[in-house]
């Protein structure tokens, strides 16, 4: 086994996903199969090869430090489930 149900449940919790017991079982099996497949890559010798950070062979994409128009408060809040004045309104955060 490459992955356990406990690990799937932990990842689900971190991603704020609610899984039923049956779903957790299913995903454990599927993810285990995926990882086992990808595991084949471990057969390659990667000594001295820099880990890939990006799939495209490109570097240094910059912007100049010049202000551009923002989209406006109403546009920013258009998809908000709740708003209060110019704010997004969210359930209380406990600290």
């Amino acid at each position: 086994m490459k992955i356990t149900k406990d690990q799937v449940e932990k990842v689900a919790l971190l991603a704020r996903l609610e899984l039923t017991d049956a779903e957790a079982e299913t995903f454990t099996g599927q993810m285990d199969a995926i990882l086992a497949y990808v595991d084949k890559l471990n057969e390659l010798n990667t000594d001295g090869i820099v880990p890939t950070a990006h799939a495209v062979p490109m570097e240094n994409a910059f912007r100049a430090d010049e202000v551009r128009d923002s989209i406006g408060i109403d546009n920013a809040l258009a998809n908000a489930p709740k708003r209060a004045e110019s704010f997004f309104r969210v359930p209380k955060v406990i600290e």
């Binding site: 430090d65 551009r68 209060a84």
Partner: protein, 479 residues
């Protein structure tokens, strides 16, 4: 049992760029909530971040000023967690390959210089701001302002080389002075431009392993840093002495009570699952770029302080005071351009100028007496037109009116009297009036000489040239 504290600091410096780190929204402080947002900083699906080149320049400056190595290649990573002030569900930061690493700063505490290691400096975006109370009609809900989301930060992480709250404060002050000198941050601690998290642990003297550490978050003044660290050291020692163990946790400092308290509950989420951000390509910094930035660096406080002592011959104290801020040093240096007597200029800048600024709580940029005007005033003293004492009166008038010193002297009739005839006349008057004291002086009470000088100066309204007064008075009294 003796304990030793082990402290490391993580400092977040907000950079003073015009725009955010990954989009063109303005970073101006105090704008209407959510008015400075766009699809990138709101975390809309499909929006692509593009790195602000100025942020990279600022990070290189910070790295060079703290003796770091600048990484030829660095990458951005996603730090994953959920919080309402973080629209994307991850913060773009740097993890495995930060832009700067292995630097150090020298701090001085109680006359001893100590080298404090800097582990790394990396670039990241700030989160938004949660407002809990001042919006009417929202009840218990929280309000989110994303203007600050995606604002550029440098996180500067020290090695656990600090051993007391005083060392921590000395390190922080030094770092603060450097970023402000570099002009990469306004360093405003009240507005959160310079924030500090303190990692603190204690160990028994002689132990070879560090104790378990706690992290105290967001301590936002030098005073609070000292309080928070001192409290945390005491608390941990007490826990251990009582037979308990320290829990690795995040704590929050409460400035009102001066204590830190546990923020348990946030702990379970501390699994950030960093991975390289596929939206951002690697950052490659050439030696030429680093050299360009190095050439553009301003003179840093330490170098300035040394130069003031070695080249200008100023005492260590003066050099320290004058280099406290870049603006004060610039004022001093500008004044020197017009009047090259470092110690005299230093005395006036640290004395009258600083006093006047403090009285009105104004920044030096607003000083009505410009460096050139101050120099003109000092020249009047040099030429003997006015005495050093009268110069202070002239200075106050210049400060009030912004007028040049020559004009003030003329208008107020403050020209120093060096004319021996005029001074002799005043001396004769004073001696005639104080015949009793004169007799006493002549019978051997030498100490009265100062009294006569004072009387003559007063009778001349301070305008008599003191050297001439001394000379003539001595002659008269002996004659």
């Amino acid at each position: 049992m003796e304990y030793r504290a082990v402290i490391g600091l993580e400092v977040h410096v907000q950079l003073n760029t015009n725009t955010k780190i990954f989009c063109g929204c303005s970073t101006r402080f105090g704008a209407e909530p959510n008015s400075q947002t766009c699809p990138v900083c709101l975390g809309m699906p499909g929006a692509l971040p593009v790195l602000n080149r100025q942020v990279v320049e600022h990070a290189i400056k910070a790295g060079l000023a703290t003796n770091c190595e600048i990484a030829p290649r660095s990458i951005f990573a996603r730090k994953n967690y959920f919080y309402p002030d973080l629209p994307k569900g991850y913060q773009i930061s740097q993890y495995e390959l930060p832009i700067c690493s292995t630097g150090h700063l020298d701090i001085e505490v109680d006359g001893t210089v100590k080298k404090i290691g800097i582990t790394r400096i990396h670039m990241e975006e700030d989160a938004g701001k949660l407002v809990h109370s001042d919006v009417p009609g929202v009840g218990d809900d929280s309000c989110v302002d994303l203007n600050r989301a995606c604002t550029p930060l440098l996180e500067i992480v020290s090695e656990p080389d600090l051993r007391s709250a005083d060392e921590a404060v000395a390190y922080l002050k030094k770092l603060h002075q450097i970023v402000v000198y570099l002009g990469i941050s306004d360093g405003n601690m009240e507005e959160g431009s310079f924030r500090c998290d303190a990692n603190v642990s204690v160990m028994k003297v002689g132990a070879d392993k560090f104790g378990t550490r706690t992290e105290t978050k967001n301590v936002n003044s030098f005073k609070f840093v000292k309080q928070a660290i001192d409290y945390e050291i005491e608390r941990q020692i007490e826990v251990i002495e009582d037979g308990g163990t320290i829990v690795q946790e995040t704590r929050l400092f409460d400035p009102n009570t001066g204590v830190t308290r546990s923020m348990r509950g946030k702990e379970e989420a501390h699994d950030y699952r960093y991975f390289p951000d596929p939206d951002l390509v690697p950052l490659v910094i050439s030696d030429d770029w680093v050299e360009d930035v190095r050439l553009g660096l301003p003179e840093l406080p330490e170098a300035k302080r040394r130069r003031y002592m070695e080249e200008l011959g100023l005492p260590a104290y003066d050099a320290e005071v004058l280099t406290a801020t870049r603006e004060l040093a610039a004022y001093f240096e500008a004044c020197l351009e017009f009047h090259s007597q470092p110690k005299l200029v230093a005395n006036w800048v640290m004395g009258e100028v600083t006093r006047a600024l403090n009285e009105e709580n104004r920044p030096i940029a607003e000083a009505p007496v410009t460096p050139q005007l101050l120099a003109e005033l000092l020249q009047l003293i040099d030429k003997g037109t006015i005495s050093g004492k009268i110069a202070k009166t002239v200075f106050d008038e210049m400060w009030r009116t912004g007028k040049p010193p020559a004009k003030v002297v003329e208008e107020k009739g403050l020209v120093q009297v060096s004319d021996t005839g005029e001074i002799e006349r005043i001396i004769n008057e004073v001696l005639a009036r104080e015949a009793g004291q004169v007799a006493e002086y002549r019978s051997g009470k030498d100490k009265l000489f100062g009294f006569f000088v004072g009387q003559v100066m007063r009778a001349s309204k301070g305008k008599a040239n003191p050297a001439v007064v001394n000379e003539l008075l001595l002659k008269k009294l002996q004659g």
